[in-house]
């Protein structure tokens, strides 16, 4: 995994994501999910372009059931964008790179 995408867990979600001083994108994924594996490199590419402006995390829903439950996630990949502790945007499923960039630009 690229160094600019870190793992976030149920126990670190509050400090890493909700208390972040800049916008955060969280990629909810699981090892069994084909589209999640495929979208991973796309997120990595994007994370390089937004370095310093947006933080990027991956959350494995298999190991961390609480956080996806809190946000009503019942499909992956789901991308959530947070700003100031609030959920700003949500993308479900495989989407175009440009759509992800659009919601990130809106969050900055």
């Amino acid at each position: 995994m690229a160094a600019n995408i870190l793992e976030v867990s149920d126990s670190t979600f509050d400090s890493d994501v909700l208390k972040s001083d800049i916008p955060v994108l969280v990629d909810f994924w699981a090892p069994w999910c084909g589209p999640c594996k495929a979208i991973g490199p796309v997120i990595e590419e994007i994370s390089k372009d937004y370095e310093g402006k947006v933080k990027f995390f991956k959350c494995n829903v298999d190991d961390n059931p609480v956080t996806p439950g809190n946000y009503g996630i019942r499909a992956i990949p789901t991308l959530l964008v947070f700003k100031g502790g609030e959920k700003l945007d949500q993308i479900v499923g495989m989407v175009d790179k440009s759509k992800i960039e659009t919601i990130l630009n809106n969050s900055i």
Binding site: A30, P35, R74, K97
Partner: protein, 311 residues
Amino acid sequence: MKTTDYDLVIIGGGPAGLTASIYAARARLNTLVLEKSAPGGQILVTDWIENYPGFPEGLSGADLVMKMANQAKRFGVEIETSQVLSMDISEPVKQLVLNDRTVTCKAVIIATGASPRKLGVAGEEEFYGKGISTCATCDAPFFKNSVVAAIGGGDTAVQESIFLTRFVEKVYLIHRRDQLRATRILQERALENDKIDIVWDSVLSSVNGSDGGVESITIKNVKTGVLSDLAVEGCFVWVGITPNTSFLNDAIQVDKGGFIVVNAKMETSVPGIYAAGDVRNTPLRQVATAVGDSAIAAFEAANYIEMLEDQ
């Protein structure tokens, strides 16, 4: 012939586009492959492919496409993450408008595939990702020991319903006719499966729920007109596909369903433009047929480019 940025641009990075790129690279065409998201396409969501020859035990769609992408890379193919917004294909030099620039080329293979069709019923958009899904391998584990519905009766609906039964307590398979359309071997497996309850002659009328997600669906019996509710936590929709052709702008002939019309050489109505795989009018949409289409399309595109250069 004027010089162009590329000989050939292949639009789409699923099995069709990747196969075309392998043939094009080996024909030493200067080729660009464009994929708007990540290589793979629809087979990424297929739990198990057991009818693609050469893999006697079967394999996951994600693994198969990764092998194809690696094979393409071995021949020097580069896949760019970008989208075609529009095309000007009226002249021999084709122009494709991408997100960040315009590229020119001599030939184009459209291998953009298709996307799951939506029913357009109430609640479908609202609950997408909150109980409504089109990917069993991705989302079935969210419905452990739950009751879910699956809509459809073709290969995808039946195969994926069988997959769902590994996780869920029960699947209502809602089908609009009184018999399934899926391949016989899949029908037999579904009919033998105790966890699958087939609801015949019925269509989805609405998906109902609250902030917490899907709570029930309303279905309509097409013979009696009677509406009834089924309590389900999930609803998987597999009612066919729609071609990914929004960038075409009527420049190429399509059929009633919007699929691109081609001849046996995969030529479209515009010289130098080819279509292969799920996006074209074809009686069967499989990985096996997509790769066959693409081998022909790349071969014919190479011939066409050679002919242009000889002029």
